[in-house]
Amino acid sequence: MNAGGRTNRLVLAAIWVVLLAAPFWLNLVGGYTALGSRVLVLGLAAMSLNFLLGFTGVLSFGHAAWFGLGAYGAGLALKFVALSTPLAMLLGTLTGGIAGALLGALIVHRRGIYFAMVTIAFGQVFYYIAYRWNSLTGGDDGLRGFSRQPLAFGPMRVDILNNSTLFYYFVLVCFAVAVGIMALLLRSPFGRTMLAIRENERRARFLGIPIELHIWIAFALSCVFISFSGTLYALLNNFADPNNLYYSLSGDLVIMAVMGGMRVFWGPLLGAAVFVVLQDYVSSLTTNWMSFIGLLFVLVVLFFPRGLLGMLRQRRVA
């Protein structure tokens, strides 16, 4: 147990060193800083989804909706409300979080396949709204005409707009805060209850745990986290488009979580890194990248259903 704790601390330290040093080593291996930011943002999104999927055992297949609502919320706030990055992030997170909490209340009584289908279908509502409401959202062309604003701490200004390395560190700080809260939640009695529900819902119910309430809270929290990552995505691209809300992004997020390892806290981040780098690479090689991504889905399901980290952990136990 003690040795395991030390390994965990070492792994944790290694993860943060790699993330902190990314702007320095990314260029050496042929990447670029914005790619690092992208991995962090989508990694946070996949981890937010996995908060629900891997740790509560609830299959949501429509999380792109909350991600995209965060992105559009932030973009619209910057465009129409005020030129402030923190305010945009707050408003974007609230948009997706509140919408998710409301919908969650409607569907927490459903389970399994039914839950998955309802989340897929409802996710598309926001896609159609963004697609159709041309005057507000820019429709199919996406939301343009906003950009992230430099941060101001009193007299000090941090120019995250023009300096992509500074922006990377800004994303990393946001990522660290969100992931830290997530880890604390999972360690709390609430988090333990989520695991109990995942492992055996019926037994948890017999213990007197209000299952629906817990699933609803976990769903809403997951929506808040993923909207937060959505706002970062809008800031990263200075752009939001309907594809941020489309169900295929939901599928991408689920495969990131599965590929990295659903049962492991850091799994989805690794999955996101592999997915983003692969997509970036393959789409530069061929126009048929969709087939490769599809093939990736099939191969992961058939041969790596536990994910990369899940397999490592299993080997260590065995």
Binding site: L53, L59, F61, L106, I107, H109, R110, R111, G112, I113, Y114, A116, M117, V118, I120, A121, F122, Q124, V125, Y128, I129, R132, Y247, S248, G251, V254, I255, V258, N288, M290, S291, I293, G294, L295, L296, F297, V298, V300, V301, L302, P305
Partner: protein, 289 residues
Amino acid sequence: MTQLLLFNVTNGLIIGAFYVLMALGLSLIINLSGVINFAHGGFLVIGGYLAYALTPALGFWGALLVAPLLTAVIGLVVERLLIRRLYGRDPLYSLLLTFGLAFMIEDGTRFIWGAQGLPVTVPDFLNQPLSASLFFITGYRLFMVAVVAVAVAALFLLLRYTRVGIRIRAGTLDLETVSTLGVNVGRLRSLNFAAGIFLAGLSGVLAGGQLGLDPTMGAGLLMPSFIAIIVGGVGSLPGTLVGGLLIGVAAGVTAVFFPSASDAVMYVLMAVVLLLRPRGLMGEEGLMT
């Protein structure tokens, strides 16, 4: 106004019939195997393009018959090779696998036939309007509805009266017991899957004749099918039938009064149903929820 309303209601019914055909296939597979077949739209596309490829050799009527059958055979192969391994596992995995398949099929059709739309040639007499006042109802639209009606009736009769049909219905309720009674459940699931894919292929041919073919058409028709199933009640085929027609008509009527919301109205309908009757219109309490 009446004319316009009539036009849109008829239109909605025709589109609804279409959703029904697609959703029934999906529903069959969900009920017996617990697999949400995301690639269902992909099989629809395969059916349509096969019809396009076969029409020069077999004519429209031959293609209408052969293309769905070939699609069903492809579906059977996919089930045997890939999907069968995932039965009994978390539905997450079959969802992801079929999701990937949908990508591959869409991209594959684009690779083979190109991204531009292609027509399925329909016999001339089917393209005539019915009469001058009912100009919007072409023979082909009536024909589509007739084919859907025949297919749906055949499906329900098969499920009601044949041995295989009874086994499928029994398996929907309790597969374990069916298995202990000596039924080869693996074969039953394969057959059931192929039947669902046949319906998808048939939808593809019909859709090709009306709208023409393009590789993304399947993805666009998938969501309404999901909603038809949820509105009707997961686990109930008659529910799926009602759900499909209902959302078709709702979309048609909305198109008269508030055109830009015609896509969204089915989602509103779904939200209302979930709020007032969570199991769906004809779903049974406790089943599949």
